[in-house]
Amino acid sequence: MVLHTMSRTVVLGVIGSDAHVVGITILEQAFRQAGLTVINLGVQSSQTEFAEAATQHDADAVLVSSLYGHAEQDCQGFHETLEAHGVDALTYIGGNLAVGQNDFEETRRTFQELGFDRVFDAETTPEDAIAALERDLRISTTANERATVTT
């Protein structure tokens, strides 16, 4: 099966008042190498900034990063904000999503309920993220395939 060349646009940023920039810097470079168009909002980006960038660049995916432990508070109403801006894109979130030594499955559920299509832990490599994007951004994606790349 031949993969479609990736000429898709993704919006990437760190939400809330989180300043952990290294992860998205690495992701940005890797995504570009993989042929994606990347709009990197940088750290400390607000929900509105994500939504506006997604509208402006007609993004296929909105990728939210959060490391500092306040992701849940910062993402309350995130999908409503996107919707209000008319954004209909895939949404991912990744990083250290909870304060403390939580069970990741619980964390995943929390963020899925908030509306994210995929939830990634801090062990996610850029390759994992690209593999997920490659599958999700194809014209037809079966639910089955989607499940197998969920990390």
Partner: protein
């Protein structure tokens, strides 16, 4: 723009009044009464005295939880079971953003649910009395650790609350910690913090100040970190601070780390006024940790061993749970004891490593060059020099998220694992120094049979969490399996 001048007493009073109005707890601050309160504290709770009179590296963890009672239990546990010599109180992220209202909501939620609604101790919300309750309940000296660009109210309340040590500075708590805070403004805010510390100092209460050495924690070249330390030290000294602890974060190459610690101490003593007591703090590896507690203990131990050779006055320890999130108190104490064991075993023997002097000379040359550039940018004023040097990129920090810095410098390890500079941006280093870095990195590129590129930087960022020091092309495979 303000200059590098001591704030006048009037200015200090005026700002003090203004910022104390930012949140109701500000009202309770009374400087005279606070001085008397500090005088009532026993000697073993006086941070500067304990640190400056130590005869072996003292250990300090990071720790902060929302509720007062929990914070007391946590610190007492770390002191007793972790054998911590110095204690921290890490402040939550809302407070760092001066969002005291949000912190209050979260604090109340925590009081009701006991949940993890905050990633630290909201000292402003706890107020002077809350802080004093903590100081009194815990049997050791405690430092405020935060990451707040505008920490004026936090300082006013915690100083009045009995804390005698305060981390941060206008560069080190701006460049790595924020995107939009203006650097000149941040310096102005920290002049207040330092002047307030100075005012206490003049009354005999020596508040210890600790610029945050690790910066972005990720492959920061030693000379950049040391330059920032000296600049913040000078700014603080101008305002009357007399107890300064300059910091440095482990890069993982023992020779380079020991050389950096020595350069930090020697340049610190050289550049700072004689009446300032300079101490040093070594942070165990501040970059990405292995996602495995056993491997993390190995990283922590290499830090301990380095500290035993480099002999800083203080070591900030990591926990084996660093990768995943805020550690349990048991893991936090474990990081302390692992460090204590290896430091003490290594301290009792002579371990003299070759090549430290050469590396130290290189670090010092670079640091002097950067400091000279700041000076040149300032037309006689240090504040102006700092702001302009960051504007032009003459001074820069790798991975800096701040819009006040260029963030153009890219570091990479050489063939021996020492951190060198791959992209200089406008960093004010001479051509011959740049040539040294280029040669070392060319050698590595040759060893690895690949071009010098961002790929190397990315591999190096992951190397330690992947169980290596250098991000060799093959090392990367490990993470995938």
């Amino acid at each position: 723009m303000i200059g590098d001048e001591p704030l006048s007493t009037d200015e200090l009073r005026r700002i003090d009044r203004t910022i104390r109005a930012d949140w109701p707890t500000g009202e309770a601050v009374d400087f005279q009464e606070a001085v008397a309160y500090h005088e009532s504290l026993p000697r073993h709770k006086r941070f500067a005295d304990v640190l400056e009179s130590a005869d072996r590296p003292l250990l300090q963890p990071r720790a902060g939880v929302p509720l007062l009672e929990d914070q007391i239990d946590l610190l007492e546990y770390l002191r007793e079971s972790g054998e911590a010599d110095l204690l921290p109180t890490t402040i939550d992220s809302y407070t760092r953003d001066n969002e005291y209202g949000k912190a209050q909501e979260a604090l109340e939620a925590a009081r009701e649910s006991g949940g993890e609604t905050l990633n630290g101790f909201p000292a402003v919300n706890h107020g002077v009395d809350g802080c004093r309750a903590l100081i009194e309940a815990v049997d050791g000296p405690i430092e405020v650790r935060h990451g707040t660009p505008d920490a004026r109210l936090l300082a006013a309340i915690t100083f009045a609350g009995g804390f005698q040590s305060f981390e941060g500075g206008p560069i080190s708590y701006n460049i790595p910690y924020t995107k939009r805070h203006d650097l000149a403004k941040t310096i102005e805010h920290w002049q207040f913090v330092d002047r307030l510390a100075g005012a206490y100092t003049e009354r005999g209460v020596r508040i210890n100040r600790e610029p945050f050495g690790p910066l972005t924690g990720t492959l920061v070249p030693p000379s950049i970190a040391i330059t920032v330390m000296i600049l913040e030290g000078l700014l603080a000294a101008t305002q009357g601070v007399r107890s300064l602890t300059l910091g440095y974060g482990q890069v993982g190459n023992v020779v380079q780390d020991v050389a950096a610690l020595r350069a930090l101490r020697s340049l610190g003593e050289e550049y700072l006024p004689n009446d300032v007591c300079v101490t040093t703090v070594f942070h165990e590896w501040m970059g990405g940790f292995p996602p495995d507690e056993a491997r993390a203990s190995g990283v922590i131990s290499l830090g301990g061993l380095t500290a035993a050779i480099g002999c800083p006055d203080k070591v900030i320890t990591k926990s084996p749970q660093e990768f995943r999130g805020v550690p349990t108190m048991e893991a936090n104490a474990a990081g302390l004891r692992t460090t204590r064991q290896i430091i003490d075993m290594a301290l009792e023997q002579t371990i003299t490593i070759d090549g430290i002097d050469d590396e130290q000379r290189l670090i010092e040359r670079e640091t002097r060059a950067l400091l000279d550039a700041v000076d040149a940018h300032g037309d006689g004023d240090l504040v102006r020099g700092i702001v302009r040097a960051f504007e032009t990129g003459a001074l820069d920090v790798p991975f800096a998220p701040s819009e006040s810095a260029q963030g153009a410098v890219l570091p990479a390890r050489d063939d021996d694992g020492r951190v060198r500079i791959l992209e200089f941006g406008n960093l004010a280093l001479s051509e011959d120094i740049k040539a040294i870095h280029a040669a070392r990195l060319a050698q590595r590129a040759e060893t690895e049979g690949r071009e010098r590129s961002f790929r190397m930087v990315a591999d190096d960022v992951d190397a330690i969490s992947d169980g290596r020091l250098i991000g060799r092309p093959l090392g990367g495979e490990r993470r995938a399996d």
